[in-house]
């Protein structure tokens, strides 16, 4: 085996993925080639370095995921059906299967068309706008459980936002506040509150004083109009009341977000 052939098989050798005869030839080569032996050492050290780079899940994330898992397990019908259908009684005959292939095909085609249209039509906020900053903030700066601003910052928030700075109680719509803080969104002082529903899904509510920025390519609407948009698994709603912009973002379906947003809009 030449050095070139050995180098081409180095990864497979390290992973034990070579055929026995090839592995024996590779070991024979490395026993007499100091350069390739050095390559093997380097490869092993790289593997050790990679294995050591595992980042454990933060405790808050673990707790939240476990809570969601247990809530889901409790919800499963009869704790036995994996597909959300009620389990059949023992001995009961299996219901006849319906084969509405044409209807299913049409439904799938329609869904695909709507999805494609939605992807094309969903506007994006201006990159420099507070809405863009709010999205970024939701993704990168979750509010940690129990977080609250200092008294000084709290005074400042109330001075700028008035009673709007107060974290709304959303228990009526099944959300539990876990913390709140102050942050800057594209130059605006904003207050952010984070909530969880019973399944552990995240909601973040942000408010700042300013004009409601228009989505790029979105039609002009009324100032107090509730706008709801969705990208992938994330949905967002925003509206403006008395010069304060409200922005609600959650990893939830659109109807759920809409229900929470409407409740907030009514209360505000």
């Amino acid at each position: 085996m030449t050095c070139e052939e050995f180098q081409a098989r180095l990864t497979a050798l390290s992973l034990g993925e070579l055929e026995p005869a090839e592995a024996a030839a590779a070991r024979e080569h490395v026993a007499h080639c100091s350069e390739c032996a050095s390559g093997v050492l380097l490869d092993r050290q790289l593997t050790a370095l990679l294995r050591a780079s595992v980042v454990p899940a933060p405790e808050a994330a673990r707790s939240s995921i476990l809570a969601a898992l247990r809530a889901e397990a409790a919800r499963l019908p009869g704790r036995g059906a994996a597909d959300g259908t009620e389990p059949r009684a023992a001995g009961s005959p299996r219901p006849p299967r319906r084969r509405h292939w044409v209807a299913l095909g049409l439904a799938a085609l329609t869904a695909a068309a709507v999805l494609a249209l939605a992807v094309l039509l969903v506007p994006s906020p201006d990159a420099g706008s507070p809405l863009a900053a709010a999205w970024k903030s939701y993704h990168r700066q979750p509010v940690a459980a129990g977080t609250a601003p200092t008294e000084q910052v709290e005074h400042r928030l109330y001075a700028v936002l008035g009673p709007t700075a107060h974290t709304p109680d959303l228990s009526d719509v099944g959300l539990r506040a876990i913390g709140w803080d102050a942050r800057t969104l594209a130059g605006h002082l904003a207050v952010a509150a984070e909530y969880r529903d019973a399944a552990g899904r995240r909601f973040m509510l942000m408010r700042w004083r300013g004009e409601l920025p228009r989505m790029a390519s979105a039609p002009d609407g009324e100032d107090d109009q509730l706008e709801v948009y969705r990208w992938g698994r994330h949905a967002s709603a925003w509206w403006q009341t008395d010069g304060v912009v409200w922005c609600l973002i959650g990893t939830v379906d659109e109807p759920t977000l809409y229900r929470v947003a409407e409740h907030l809009a009514r209360e505000s």
Partner: protein
């Protein structure tokens, strides 16, 4: 399907799933969402898991499929914003207190390793994550990524050579410490 049995079998792999999600998604919040959704889907379809097979590989496959079908598309807009900011969320350290394991990793400049892995193309990064970091066999990784085993080997080989080039100072230091 027994939820208690699912929890006992699957939850011990939460660190691996969260770590893989972080490397795929690039930010802690999305990684948490992706991990949670993976567990919920796995619970609902636990009946399809074949006892005796590698449950970590099964979970990682659900997670990878979920990422490809929903999260990658959903990331379209945030990715643009993050690029405009000039910083890469994959390179940001997660915000939690370091434990003893992390202290050890810090000695080897964990940040440099993560930075190097984050720079790999997604397919290479996933192959490294599955095989080198989380210990799947090439065959299992091939099933997760739905590609031939030879493709996984090829991606790993090329990824490793790139990583070696990027991490040469770190590897040199480890080598010197070993001597």
């Amino acid at each position: 399907m027994d939820p208690a049995s699912f929890e006992a079998s699957a939850v011990p792999h939460m660190n691996a799933l969260h770590d893989a999600a972080l490397r795929l998604a690039g930010d802690p919040a999305t990684a948490q969402d992706l991990t949670q959704e993976t567990f919920l889907r796995a619970l609902r379809s636990f009946d399809t898991f074949r006892p005796g097979s590698n449950i970590r590989a099964w979970l990682l496959r659900i997670q990878y499929n979920l990422f490809c079908t929903e999260y990658r598309r959903g990331r379209r807009i945030p990715v643009v914003w993050l690029d405009e900011g000039g910083d890469d969320p994959a390179l940001d350290p997660p915000s939690f207190e370091p434990g003893p394991e992390e202290q050890t990793i810090r000695e080897l400049d964990r940040e440099a390793v993560r930075r190097a892995i984050a720079r790999l193309p997604e397919d290479f990064r996933m192959a490294v994550t599955l095989v080198d970091i989380h210990g799947l066999s090439c065959g299992e990784a091939a099933t997760v990524m739905d590609v031939p085993r030879g493709t996984i080997l090829s991606r790993l080989h090329r990824a490793r050579r790139r990583l070696e080039a990027m991490l040469l100072p770190e590897l040199g230091r480890v080598q010197a410490d070993d001597l």
